[in-house]
Structures are given as C-alpha cells and as structure tokens.
C-alpha cells in the first residue's frame, strides 16, 4: 500500500513522543513497585516489631486448669503459675504482672482468658499471641512430627489427575493459552480509547481534506491500525520489563512464588489458536473503534459509545463459569459466535480446552469477516464523515449516502 510505511512511522513516532503514552505505560510498573515497596517495608516493620516484642521481657503468669501447658515451656519464658484466676487478674490490675492467662479445664468449650497491661493498640495483641503460642507449643511437644505438621499446616499435597490415560496438567495447562485472554483484556483497556481518539483527532484538527487528497483512506486507517498495534506491544513490553526485573530482584525479599516455566505445559495448537484469536480480535475491535471515531465529530461524543462497545466485549466475563462448565449451552454458543462478544468466550474456552478445532475455525472466520467489514465501513464513514465536523453520521445514512 502506497505510503503505508510513512503513515505507520509518523503515527508511531508521534505517539511515542507523547508524555501521556509513557505515563500510561510506566504507571503500572511504578504503581507495582510502590505497592511492592509498601508491602516490603510493612512486612519488614512488622517483622522487626514482632521480633522486638518476642524479645521483650515482660512478666507473665498463668493458671492452667486444662493441664495442657508444659512446665518446660513455661520456665523457658520465665512465666509463673498462680493458683487462682482472681489472684492473677488482681496482680495485672495492680501492676505486679504484665500479663496473666487463664486456661479453662475444657478449652473446647470455655474461652482462654487473656489479661494484660495496656501497651498500645498494636502491642496489646502480643498477649493473645503468647497465650496461643504456649498452647500450640505445649501440644506440639507432646505429639509426633506428623501430627505436628498437620497441626502447623505444613503438609504439602501433590495432586495428579488423568485424562484419556494421560497425566493431566490441571490449572497449569491454562496458563500459556490463557495469557492471550489477559493480553486482550490489557490491550483493549489500555489502548481502546487511544484507538478512538486517533481517528477523531483527524477531524478535530481539520486536517482530513489534505490527507484524503494525499493518501487513500484505507492506507491511513490500516496505517493507524498497524501503528496502534505496534504501540500496544511497545507499551506491553514497557510494562512487563520493569515488572520482570522487579520480580527477579525482589523475589526473595517479598517472598514471591518461583516462576518455574518448565512446569507449564505448552500445547502448540491451543497457543496458536489463542494467538490467532487474540490478534484478529484486536484488529476487529480496532476496526470497530475506528469506525466509531470516524462517525463521531469529537472524541468526547465518541467516548460515550466506547462504553457500549466495552460492555459487549467484556460482558461475557460475567458468564465465564458457564464457558467452562457448559460449553455446549445455547448462550455459550451464541456468545462464542456473535462477533462483538466472541473474543472473550473463544479465548477462555481455548484456554480451558473445550473449544474444538472446527468451532475455533468458525469463530476465527467470523472474526476475520467482521474485521474486514468493520474496516470497510470505517473507510466509508471516514470518507463521508471526514467533512462532517460538527455532526455525527448514522449507519443508515452511511449505507444510503453516495456523498
């Protein structure tokens, strides 16, 4: 296409020069970094405080009618025993003791009572923690290692399921093809509005007549579409790069889970289908949003219709459990094949593995057809609507109108 490269370069470079592009791209990793820092420092402060608390020397006494608390553990923290509950409470009241715990005879029915000297809202909880620890450690000391592991919730489980005699990878198999669903969501949320304004600005700037006599509207729209796709990927890389760098640097400090790619199964067919559905869906929505931008006189007017398009797109997310549990139900079939709603159902069903190849082919064919129609209508509206600077065009007008 004549001049396509020039249009792509111009549209890409001028967007890359905009501060708003980089603010939007960097806002997510910056926000992520800030949240990470807050979590890190908060954890660190809490750990430090807990450590300080655990090391703090304070006087404790207990009355143990349950006979669970091990004397060895009591002596380790220099705790005393007092014969009556009232004596313990009085000792705390008159400042002779910092804390007193009463363990009833039957702890499954009666409450463990904790009394302590007020030391601030945050620090007051240390008494209850200690009372709980005394109980847990005393029970652990009287049981074997297996029971201790169960009690302390340290038992690891390894589940294996089989499908058609083959080991099934469970949720792990959703990760690779499911990434396209996440990508699609991200691209549309972050780039949808930009697609819209990239067209309306041609009208708002009154530059359209010069453009239409220099290049074909198809070249301009396709150039913008490809430029926006390129920019979306640049933005994605801009967001992911610092997040990944941050992950590897702060993985240990923030106790983040390990990223073991080797355990993630890669089904070439599911990944290929996911990639194709994702790319075509993105083009289709770009085409639709461009058409919308071409029909509206200003970005402000276009944005109200943008909400409706987003509703069609992301509405099926509310029925996501249905796509997994009842893939053959009528509603799932309708949402999977109606072009405006189909991207999410197709991507989700492909990820969970209930989208058959023929169904995927039909869905993709419908998406391609809609994309071509959307771009063609967009070009037509762009041509006719280009000189409508203050009025929005109706669809019937576009179809009927020769000029």
């Amino acid at each position: 296409m004549h001049n396509l490269r020039t249009v792509i370069k111009f549209e890409t470079v001028r967007t890359l020069k905009k501060k708003s592009f980089w603010i939007a791209a960097l806002a997510i990793p910056v926000a992520g970094a800030l949240i990470g820092m807050i979590v890190y420092f908060s954890n660190k402060t809490t750990d430090t405080l807990s450590q300080q608390l655990s090391q703090a020397q304070y006087s404790v006494a207990i009355t143990d009618d349950s006979h669970i608390i091990a004397p060895k553990i009591l002596s380790a923290i220099h705790a005393q025993t007092v014969p009556s509950k009232q004596a313990g409470i009085d000792a705390v009241k008159n400042g002779q003791l910092d804390a007193y715990f009463y363990y009833p005879q039957d702890i499954s029915k009666g409450n463990v009572e904790v009394y302590g000297k007020e030391v601030g809202l945050f620090d007051d909880s240390r008494y209850q923690s200690l009372a709980q620890d005394l109980l847990k450690q005393s029970i652990a000391a009287t049981t074997n290692a297996n029971v201790r592991a169960v009690l302390q919730d340290r038992v690891a489980y390894n589940a294996t399921t089989f499908k058609d005699g083959q080991q099934d990878k469970g949720f792990l198999k959703l990760i690779a093809p499911g990434m396209f669903l996440v990508l699609f969501y991200f691209m549309l949320v972050t780039f949808g509005n930009q697609i819209l304004t990239s067209i309306t600005e041609e009208k708002e700037n009154r530059v359209i007549e010069m453009i239409l006599t220099t290049i074909k509207p198809t070249t301009l729209l396709v150039g913008k579409l490809l430029s926006l796709t390129l920019l979306a990927f640049i933005q994605l890389v801009t967001i992911l790069t610092p997040l990944l760098i941050g992950y590897f640097i702060l993985k240990d400090q923030l106790s983040l889970p390990s990223l073991d790619l080797s355990s993630i199964p890669f089904d070439p067919l599911a990944i290929t289908l996911g990639a194709v559905i994702f790319v075509i869906s993105f083009f289709m929505y770009t085409g639709i949003l461009m058409t919308l931008g071409a029909a509206m006189p200003t970005a402000k007017e276009a944005s109200s219709f943008f909400g409706m398009v987003m509703l069609f797109t992301f509405g099926p997310l509310y029925a996501s459990s249905l796509f997994i549990s009842s893939p053959n139900s009528t509603i799932v079939q309708v949402l999977s094949y109606f072009p405006l709603t189909s991207p999410i159902p197709l991507l989700l069903r492909n990820a969970v593995g209930n989208l058959t190849l023929p169904q995927a082919v039909i869905g993709i064919a419908l998406l391609i057809t809609t994309t071509i129609i959307a771009i063609r209508i967009g070009v037509r509206i762009f041509k006719f609507g280009a000189l409508e600077y203050s009025r929005r065009l109706s669809l019937s007008e576009v179809i009927k109108r020769k000029n």
Partner: protein, 307 residues
C-alpha cells in the same frame, strides 16, 4: 507540455446532496500550465466542485478528469491542495508535520527536511521549526499549511480561498509564490471571491452561481460577454432614468449607479441634465471583475465579498 491540452476536464458535472442540487450540469476545462480562477460567492458550489474533482465526493452525474481519468492519490499528477477548511496536527511540531506531508507527496525524508527548512527561512519561521503548531499564531499556521501545499513542486496547485486569514504582507508573499509556480509551468486553480487577485493572476475564469456556470473564458472574454470593457459610474442624489438608446443600467447601489455606455459621454451627460439628474461624480471606468461579480450577485454577493 501542450498547453492547449486540458489537464482538467469537467463534463456535465451534477452534484446532489439528498434532494438538493448543488451543481447542475457544469462543464469546463483547465489547460496545462494556465492559472484558472474559479469564482463565486459562498455556497455557490466552488468547494463542492473541487472536492468532487479530487475524489472526496462522488459526483451524482457527469465526469471530472484530472489528466486521463478521475484523480488518484497515487497517480502520476503531483497535487498541491490548500483546502478552504484548514487544519494541521496541532500537537506536532512544524518540521515533523512538514516532513510527514513531504514524504506522503513522494519526497525522501532528507529532501522534505531540507525543503521545509528553506521554506521556513523564507517565510521568517526558521526559529519555529521545532515548535508545536498550536503554539503558532493563525497566520504562522497558514504559512506552514501553504508550505505543505507547494511542497514537491506540484503539477496542479488548487488553492481554495488562499488569502483567507492572511494580512497584506503575507498576502503579497502568497501571490509571489503563486507567480513562481505559474512561471515553473504549474497549473493553478485559484478558488476565490477576491476579484482583484483573480484579475492579476488568472488567464481564464469561471464564475459560478447557484451551481451553474454564469461566465467562462479569459478575463477579456468575460468582460466582453458581460457588455464591454468600460462603464460609467455616477453618484447622484436623484434616480438615474432608463435610456436604452444611450446606456444600459448595469447596477444600482444607493446613490451609486453603474451604466454601460452606448453613445458618447457628452450625450449621456446632456441627457441626465435634461432629466434633472444632478450628479457629484461622472466617471468612466474600466469594467472590473468586481463590478461583474457585484452585478451577478447583487447586494448579497457584495456583502460576502467585503466580509
């Protein structure tokens, strides 16, 4: 280049928007290398004709050819078009915008940059090359747009109301530039209702009213077809009577009456005095396009012309 061969051929062009006919059966040609004045008041159909010629509108009837067929953006004819509705990418800088359009018009990035910097220096905007367009004044933006129009030496230059928004100094600059392109051999279509500029620059004109060609030809032919080259302007408190033998009243505007003489000046003066018409001015004037325009459009057109 054969200057007798038309570069533009408009044949039985009709344009309708819904039930409204904007242009009705319009035919004209523009020859290679000539400067053609496309005249008419606001709403007469000038811009519609240009848009149809350039493929922005699809004609309801007839044909509009640029060269051998309808205008194509990727065809062989290099176009420079300054539309009536002006605008540029306001958030972009001057040089970036000029380079973009230069490249779209077939220049390399380097050529477009060099040309743009030379042009900006010529129009005293050399220090604005990296400034955003919305930071420029309206007149400065007009200069940039004009520069974009004449980039890459167009074969066909279409200027729709080019002087709109220009002060006298910049208007002079614009005229000089148009003359340079005329000398280079470019075909120029000058869409306007500024008659003085048309008389100075144009070889032939077409005057449009209500979508129909009213006058078409060289300026002399137009003047002759309208009744000759000379008129007499009379300023009088009294009503100048009709006198088919000695003159034809061409135009009345309050106290000012324009007549086309048939007899000699002395006889007309005697006839007026005899009819009791006292006048403060009786002046033989060369008939101008402005007079013709006023005659065709009347008071409505005059208001638009002087607006």
């Amino acid at each position: 280049m054969n200057t007798e061969t038309p570069l533009i051929t408009v044949d039985n062009f009709t344009m309708r928007f819904g039930k409204t006919t904007v242009i009705n059966d319009l035919s004209f040609t523009v020859r290679h290398g000539e400067t053609f004045g496309f005249l008419g008041s606001n709403g007469s159909g000038k811009t519609t004709t240009i848009r149809a010629l350039l493929g922005i509108y699809e004609p309801s009837g007839g044909t509009l050819y640029v060269g051998d067929g309808p205008y194509k953006v990727d065809g062989t004819i290099k176009l420079g078009y300054l539309p009536e509705e002006r605008g540029l990418y306001k958030k972009e800088n001057v040089i970036g915008t000029m380079m973009y359009f230069g490249q779209l018009k077939g220049m390399s990035a380097q050529e477009a940059k060099e040309w743009s910097l030379d042009y900006l220096a010529r129009v005293d905007l050399e220090n604005k090359a990296t400034v955003r367009l919305d930071k420029l004044s309206g007149g400065q933006q007009q200069k940039v747009q004009l520069g974009i129009t004449i980039m890459n030496d167009p074969d066909l230059l279409i200027l729709d109301e080019p002087t709109k928004g220009f002060d006298p100094v910049n208007r002079r600059l614009l005229m000089d530039m148009i003359e340079e392109h005329q000398k280079r051999g470019a075909t120029v279509i000058f869409v306007t209702h500024q008659m003085e500029e048309v008389e100075r620059l144009c070889d032939r004109v077409l005057l449009l009213k209500d979508g129909t060609a009213r006058l078409y030809g060289t300026i002399d032919e137009v003047k002759k077809s309208f009744g000759g080259n000379n008129v007499i302007e009379i300023v009088s408190e009294h009503t100048v009577p009709k006198n088919d033998k000695l003159y034809t009243i061409k135009h009345r505007d309050g106290k000012v009456v324009t007549i086309e003489p048939k007899g000699d000046m002395l006889a007309i003066q005697r006839s007026l005095t005899g009819a009791g018409v006292a006048y403060t001015r009786f002046e033989l004037k060369q008939l101008s396009l402005d007079d013709i325009f006023l005659e065709i459009y009347g008071a409505e057109g005059k208001e638009e012309v002087h607006a």
